[in-house]
Amino acid sequence: MSSKVYVTGIGIISAIGNNVAETLDSFNKMHSGVGTLEHIISRHQADTPVAEVKASNAELAVMAGFPKGHEDTRTALLGTIAAKEAVKSAGITDMKEFRTGIISATSVGGMGMTENLWMQYLDTEQSGPWLKFIESHECGDSTEAIADSLGIRDYLSTISTACSSSANSIMFGARMIKQGLLDRVVVGGVDSLSKFTINGFSTLMILSKEQCKPFDANRKGLNLGEGAGFIVIESEKAAKGKTIFCELTGYGNANDAYHQTASSPDGAGAYLAMEKAFNISGLKPADIDYINAHGTGTEINDLSEGTALDRMFDKKVPMISSTKAFTGHTLGACGGIEAVFSILAIKNNMVYPNLNLVTPMPELSFKPVTELKKDQKINNVLSNSFGFGGNTSALIFSRVKE
């Protein structure tokens, strides 16, 4: 059993960089990753900006270290790249040294492969090498590919709870460490862009035709993104003597009980998730130095989340930003990607800007940070992730006291 859960490694790939160093460079240059879709043929290509990882599948396979000719889903490739970076940054070389697991989150799984091949799958007259990809459709396939490439054998699970998936995988991993079931876990998630999500979100009429503007009074919806974010969390025993990024001190997940898809306007579920995270961490809202908001840029999310934050922080909301205008909304991966941002905020004492904000929302008491801020004292960061159906989650990362 371990009463503490330490973060010892981080890995990331998104539209703003293929690793941690490139990501920080993009933040320093205020470079958004939102642009034109290149790697999928779509009727929405011209009018709907997305935040795509700037590499083809063949290029990603090289980055993932797969042998020449290896084919896999974009989801498995992105996940492997970020998870490998996280494991490397944690200095793990021997998977047998401790009981090690992986809990990966995804919402689309292998959909990107299926939508290219399904007509061939249905043609029973034909047989061929494409049939091996049928199994890659399900969400667990990418987790297995990542686990295989890392040599993780002790525990594997996949979580799919829409946009709170990754936050829930981090929470699940932390609970397994606290229960003494594992010593260290690679947690986070991955999603790749697909016609399914681009067309689906377009039908829901929540995709912005311009760069998204989270927490702006005139926000027009979200930009979809893709990528992966993984962190390595370890028990006190496993982390002993290692370089520690920070501690995961709090986590909470709640149910909004409002609507099958939409969040409640008063953010009841968001409030409950944050309250649970504070209860576990023993921290008070006043202890939080920075909030990495879910902030998708949709009408409903930003109002619901902002209202819950005003209530939770009694209208004294600390520095806050949504990084979705950099990375797009990466759906099942966003909690992992934003966990990495939260950890880097503590490590580098920095706060990221909420890009594209012009007019703050009149309904809210706070105005997000619009410039990159350095030399801040960032000890505790709250990271929110809210999913369809009112599945709301909150994580708190804290600097380890010297």
Binding site: N255, A257, H259, Q260
Partner: protein, 209 residues
């Protein structure tokens, strides 16, 4: 020493019969089509919740069963909504509505998918409907099993209540597929606020039968 926990009320809808705490209530011919029977039960008990008509058959069945269970034992009046869990399982997941949705997208020349149908193509939406109706915000999970599994349900719910994850649980089995339906929902509490049946695998087996 684990706390004992009690089954405090139960409701069953099966074979043209509604059964509440062991007493048969509304009934019809066992061969009445499932959808008609569930709607007739909804009307008979004057449940009066217009969203019922938007729901798919699985959710309608779960809704009627949960309403009657909560009439017999109004746990929402006795517990904070964050302390009530909902744990339900079934066999057919949401196949009934999945098939209906598939029929609207199978033919490119006759393509008419509806978001109102699509939203029901996950079985845990039935938990959502019960939660939305009663503002229940506690722990919830939906399982898919071959048949009602009293051993698993018993141990899962014991563990949840005994570790403080919830103070009360609405649990059971709600299955609807190809005109076959079977609903069995019950409340489990740490104190005896009703029937006082010990929450054990054997008792769950007896009550479900």
């Amino acid at each position: 020493m684990a706390a004992p926990n009690y089954i405090t009320a139960y409701a069953k809808i099966r074979s043209g019969k509604v059964i509440l705490n062991g007493e048969t209530g509304y009934s019809a011919n066992a061969d009445e089509p499932a959808a008609d029977f569930v709607k007739a039960a909804y009307k008979h008990y004057e449940l009066n919740y217009p969203k019922f008509y938007k729901m798919d058959q699985l959710c309608r069945l779960a809704f009627v069963c949960s309403e009657l269970l909560l009439r017999a034992n109004k746990v929402t009046a006795n517990y904070a909504t964050e302390d009530i869990a909902i744990i339900v399982a079934n066999n057919a997941a949401s196949l009934e509505i999945d098939t209906e949705h598939q029929s609207t997208i199978a033919d490119a020349d006759n393509y008419f998918p509806s978001p109102a149908v699509f939203v029901y193509t996950l079985p845990n939406i039935l938990i959502g409907e019960i939660a939305i109706r009663n503002s229940i915000k506690g722990e919830n999970t939906f399982f898919i099993f071959d048949t009602f599994d009293p051993r698993f349900m018993n141990s899962y719910i014991h563990s949840m209540l005994n570790t403080g994850r919830a103070k009360c649980c609405i649990a059971g089995w709600v299955d609807f597929y190809e005109n076959k339906y079977d609903a069995f929902l019950y409340t489990v509490e740490q104190t005896n606020n009703g029937l006082g049946i010990a929450h054990t695998e054997e008792q769950l087996n007896n009550l479900y039968k």
